[in-house]
Amino acid sequence: MPAEVVIVRTGTANLASVIAAFERLGEAARITDDPSEVADATRLVLPGVGTLAAAMASLRERRLVEVLRDRLRDGRPALAICLGLQLLCEGSAESPGERGLCIVPTFAERFTGVRTPHMGWSRVGAIGGTPGGFAYFAHSYRLTDAPPGWNVSRADHGGAFVGAMFRGAILACQFHPELSGAWGAALLRGWLSMKGGE
């Protein structure tokens, strides 16, 4: 019996698509903002849309910042989506002066000189055992450099950027796997099969 998927309520995200994607894969998913449930989650999903500052304010209000940091460092499976990826970082140019969860020593910058937001389907490289494919993006900020210690799958929009980064059983996607069709479903299935633990 696979472990239940626990989705963190970041306060800003629309979670219906994420839940529906797991349900199509036969996996129950529930939403929580309870710190102890986040700490205990075998499979944790950190979603997010909107601004980094709004999401961090919401996490602080729910006393989830420290517990999330600990949970994301313990090696068990975790999936960060879109703003969730940027929340792992030290911050974003979108929210000057605001600190992210600081799990990954890098910073998100805004696209320049290209259509912004980057909205639509772009190709990303292989992610672990999942071959490359088209992923659905909807964002204006992105990481340009691979953070030390992380594997990176690149995408391109006026230059290469981090489409996804992964390490052990942690997968952080700048795109929305839950909206990325059959390819996204295959990626989620791969993540669900990860055991985790370092």
């Binding site: 219906a16 529906a20 290209v114 259509r115 909205m119 639509g120 929009h157």
Partner: protein, 254 residues
């Protein structure tokens, strides 16, 4: 650039798909969830559902339709029609929309765009413009399903919407809608000149060649209802035509 998105549109009233010609004389064209499943299988990159209901009862039926579509779809879903406030938009997003399209209410009170973007993020907010040609390269914004003209210039309005936080523009020519005469290309070009946001061209597509033209005019995505509903063309036919014109498209099956 990302792959050009092909977006079938479902006009829904009281939980059923309808499609009008020039926004009136609606005819029934089927069950939304069933149709949505087919579109995704044919390679649709996104789906737009426009709620054309006139009554509150029909609108709640449409909310149930959003939930049904969400269960079915693993591609993005935009929902519009009758979005007047942050609360309505929130209800649609909770039901499973990924983006909300706002039209008349924003034209009457442009601060609605700021409020929606602040609450849900720019990428969630699609400003729908129904543009009515006035001649000499000018378009007015029409509201209430095309029944009323405002004094707003459609091109200037698109630029204002960008500065207020819209994430993309759904640009419909109400003169072309349902006519199968092709998109209003000068309109697409005029808006492309003034904004950096993605543009979804809408209104008038009869064939894949029209969609190629819209992309060449500056559209990032093309939306159509009739030709897909009627089965005249499949999304995969459109993608083949775009690919033949060296326009990047998503191959749906990895």
């Amino acid at each position: 650039m990302p792959a050009v998105r092909i977006i079938p549109c479902l006009d829904v009233n009281d939980g059923r798909i309808v499609k009008g010609v020039r926004f009136v004389s609606l005819r029934d064209a089927g069950d939304p969830a069933e149709q949505a499943r087919l579109y995704e299988a044919h390679g649709a990159d996104e789906l737009t559902m426009l709620d054309v209901s006139a009554t509150a009862e029909a609108r709640s039926a449409s909310l149930a339709t959003v939930r049904a579509l969400r269960r079915e779809l693993s591609i993005p879903l935009t929902v519009g029609g009758g979005v007047r406030c942050v609360e309505t938009a929130g209800a649609l997003l909770d039901a499973g929309a990924d983006k909300v399209a706002v039209n008349s209410a924003a034209a009457l009170d442009s601060s609605l765009i700021d409020r929606l973007a602040a609450r849900f993020g720019n990428q969630c907010i699609v400003l729908a413009i129904d543009a009515a040609a006035m001649g000499r390269g000018r378009w007015r914004v029409a509201i209430r399903s095309g029944r009323e003209r405002t004094d707003l210039d459609a091109v200037a309005w698109s630029a204002e919407a960008e500065s207020r936080g819209a994430g993309e523009i759904l640009l419909t020519s109400i003169d072309r809608d349902g006519t199968l005469l092709g998109y209003d290309l000068p309109l697409v070009r005029a808006v492309r000149e003034v904004i950096a946001l993605p543009i979804i061209a809408s209104g008038g597509a009869a064939n894949p060649a029209h969609m190629v033209e819209a992309v060449h005019a500056g559209a990032d995505a093309v939306l159509a209802a009739s030709i897909f509903h009627d089965g005249t063309y499949r999304v995969s036919d459109v993608k083949a035509a775009l690919a033949a014109a060296d326009i990047p498209v998503r191959e749906p099956n990895p």
